[in-house]
């Protein structure tokens, strides 16, 4: 049955995945086991196939939705069994002066589906608002997106300000004009060129890879 659940996640078959999850729970199988042996291995395959460009975004999103719906079903059981925490908390925003949010939205969506708790602050966000939100939710990670070169340049001082604020959150950056070289130069904790690689990066940064 675990193989079947894994396959339903890969196929993005939400109905089947949630049906199987419910059945397993009813059969008394622990949520940890369902997650670790069925759902997560399914999403791992999806991730690999996405990385090798075999599966494309809409397919991955469908799988992620099936995964999310199934994990929702596990939630009521966590309290009894423990272990239901998310991978980590991330605050994400498009920086001040910039309204480009298509990429940031996709990154946010993918991170959420990977199991992170997301706080998306939207576009044109002042750095102080990002710091405040990170403190409020006790974020592990901050994601900054910029598509304009002007706003990209402002990321450098944004990172300084975040560090200066005493926030424990690590900072990852992205957006089409940004390169690994630039991300290193401004001393960010990481850079990813697309939404999929943002998941790998975020997991690495929170020590969950």
């Amino acid at each position: 049955m675990f193989e079947e659940l894994k396959a339903s996640i890969i196929a993005g078959d939400q109905e089947k995945a949630t049906g199987l999850t419910t059945k397993m729970l009813n059969d008394g199988i622990g949520p940890q086991k369902i997650l670790k042996e069925g759902l997560v291995p399914g999403m791992d395959v999806v991730g690999e196939k996405f990385r090798s460009y075999e599966m494309w975004l809409p397919e991955v999103i469908l799988s992620a939705k099936a995964m999310k719906a199934s994990t929702e079903l596990l939630k009521p059981y966590w309290d009894q069994n423990g272990g239901g925490e998310t991978l980590g908390k991330i605050v994400i925003a498009t920086v001040e002066g910039d309204v480009h949010d298509i990429g940031k939205n996709l990154v946010s969506m993918m991170l959420e589906s990977a199991g992170f708790e997301m706080t998306d602050l939207g576009v044109n966000v002042k750095i102080q608002a990002i710091i405040d939100a990170a403190n409020r939710v006790d974020a592990d990670l901050i994601g900054l997106s910029a598509l304009l070169t002007t706003t990209m340049l402002a990321m450098k001082s944004a990172i300084k300000a975040i560090r200066g604020s005493g926030s424990k959150a690590k900072v990852m950056v992205g957006g089409s004009p940004i390169t690994q070289e630039y991300a290193s130069e401004i001393e960010s904790d990481g850079f990813a060129p697309d939404a999929l690689r943002a998941i790998t990066l975020a997991k690495k940064l929170v020590g969950k890879s």
Partner: protein, 476 residues
């Protein structure tokens, strides 16, 4: 007598566009668009035919039609004459260095060079690169100034689409435009689906009493901010264009409000494989054909974004996409082609590539040029005269007509191997770079000295204006 012009059959027909038009109007009336600005909402609410529902504005079709009918598209003479031309560059911050060929950040020196190069090749449009070596609040002002000082068409007709990122910046550019007798407009970029950038809208709102021409653009992306089908995205684009134009029409009654022909009915394509934005793809070319059909239907100037690619380098990938796109658009009736010099889906500017594109454009133009059907060109007497073993090479007709009958490329030379070796085995890129350097060195147009002085004074004032600086300073 002429041989009939080549053309492309097919595409959206009148009935289909009628239907799309009707649906776009219906969507505007029933779904409306979001207007995230109190002041603008208030202005809209004063008009008949407007329904405000929260921050959504809905317009009656008659009102939308009024806005569309009121729009004036003041095309320049070269467009009216049906000349083939290229619009080159827009806001690139990275460029290939013209001396070294290496990728780097653009500077004010590059800006001057690329504008001169563009002018030497009669290109039009916006300023090609952003001068990253000057402070942010001066960049757009300097782009206008440099364009006006060193070129005839740039930032100076309906084919410009320059950004003015703050009210203060817009005022400086406006003042310079008046001093130089050049065109000044303000543009709105909508946020798909169905909304606006509140800041962008606010600048337009504050400029509304000055009689400034305002244009509207939107860039829905198929599968992300618009439906996955190109056709659905084109419909959403029509809907957003017409609704957005109506907002401008009601908000800016003293100015001419129009759809920017530069992005009219834009429907962007997206790669689900690489999760990224794509230009130059098969679907993007299909969209261009719909766009041409729509521009003809609505009687809008036609300019096609055929000079775009997702390739990072000036290479075969770029050349193939741009040539095919331009040829097809040309066959469909386009004579104006946009985004020359841009690589990497619009992120990088390449000066020598503009030279290559100029050649590609001439190449295509010459394939499609009108051909005379005449006794003179059938040359029956010559065929009779030259017998077996004879030659036409010394014929008077050959001497008189060879330059007319053959197009002589400047870059895509017809050398044989020996000649090519003899000429130094230069790659196309090398040759284009040399040509670009020569064109820049020989470029002579300059704006009137007094006007230049005046622009310099305004720029000096801008440099010291703390309000301007604040208006674009990112608060960190």
């Amino acid at each position: 007598m002429k041989i009939e012009n080549f053309g492309l059959q097919g595409g959206l027909n009148k009935e289909q566009i009628d239907y799309m038009h009707e649906k776009a109007m219906w969507l505007i009336e029933t779904s409306g668009i979001q207007v995230p600005h109190e002041g603008v909402l208030k202005l809209l609410a004063e008009h008949d035919g407007v329904t405000i529902d929260g921050d959504m504005a809905k317009f009656k079709p008659e009102l939308v039609q009024q806005a569309m009918d009121a729009a004036v598209y003041d095309v320049p003479d070269y467009y009216k004459q049906g000349k083939w031309f290229m619009s080159a560059g827009a806001h690139q911050t990275a460029c290939y260095d013209l001396e070294t060929g290496k990728l780097k950040q653009a500077t004010s020196d590059d800006l001057v060079k690329f504008i001169k190069l563009g002018d030497a090749l009669d290109t039009v449009g916006s300023a090609p690169v952003v001068p990253m070596d000057v402070p942010v609040h001066l960049q757009h002002i300097l782009m206008h100034k440099t364009a006006w000082e060193n070129s005839r068409y740039r930032c100076n007709d309906i084919f410009e689409h320059m950004d003015k990122p703050s009210y203060e910046c817009a005022n400086y550019v406006h003042e310079m435009a008046q001093a130089a007798g050049k065109r000044f407009t303000f543009g709105i970029w909508m946020i798909s689906p169905k909304s606006f950038d509140a800041h962008n809208l606010d600048v337009a709102y504050r400029l509304r009493d000055k009689g400034i021409p305002m244009w509207l653009a939107t860039m829905p992306q198929a599968g992300v901010t618009a439906p996955i089908s190109i056709l659905g995205t084109v419909l959403q684009s029509m809907y957003e264009h017409f609704a957005g134009l109506t907002v401008l029409y009601l908000m800016n009654p003293k100015g001419n409000n129009y759809i920017s022909p530069n992005d009219a009915f834009e429907a962007n394509t997206f790669s689900m494989k690489y999760i990224t934005f794509v230009y130059g793809s098969v679907e993007y070319i299909q969209h261009s054909l719909h766009q041409i059909a729509l521009c003809k239907y609505y009687d809008l100037p036609i300019i096609v974004k055929s000079l775009l690619t997702s390739s990072q380098e000036p290479d075969a990938h770029a050349a193939a996409e741009m040539s095919i796109h331009t040829l097809i658009a040309g066959l469909a009736g386009a004579r104006a082609f946009r985004c020359g010099g841009l690589l990497s889906t619009g992120e990088i500017y390449c000066g020598e590539w503009v030279v290559v594109l100029n050649e590609i454009l001439q190449y295509i133009q010459n394939i499609l040029k009108e051909e005379e059907f005449s006794e003179e060109r059938l040359m029956i007497q010559d065929i009779i005269d030259v017998g077996p073993g004879g030659t036409y090479i010394d014929k008077k007709s050959t001497y008189e007509m060879f330059r007319r009958e053959y197009w002589m490329p400047q870059l895509f030379e017809h050398t044989n191997l020996g000649q090519w070796l003899d000429l130094g085995q230069k790659t196309i890129r090398q040759q284009a770079r040399e040509m670009a350097q020569k064109l820049i060195a020989e470029h002579s147009y300059e704006i009137d000295k007094d006007v230049k002085k005046e622009l310099g004074k305004i720029y000096e004032r801008a440099k010291k204006d703390s309000d301007l600086e604040k208006s674009l300073k990112l608060e960190i």
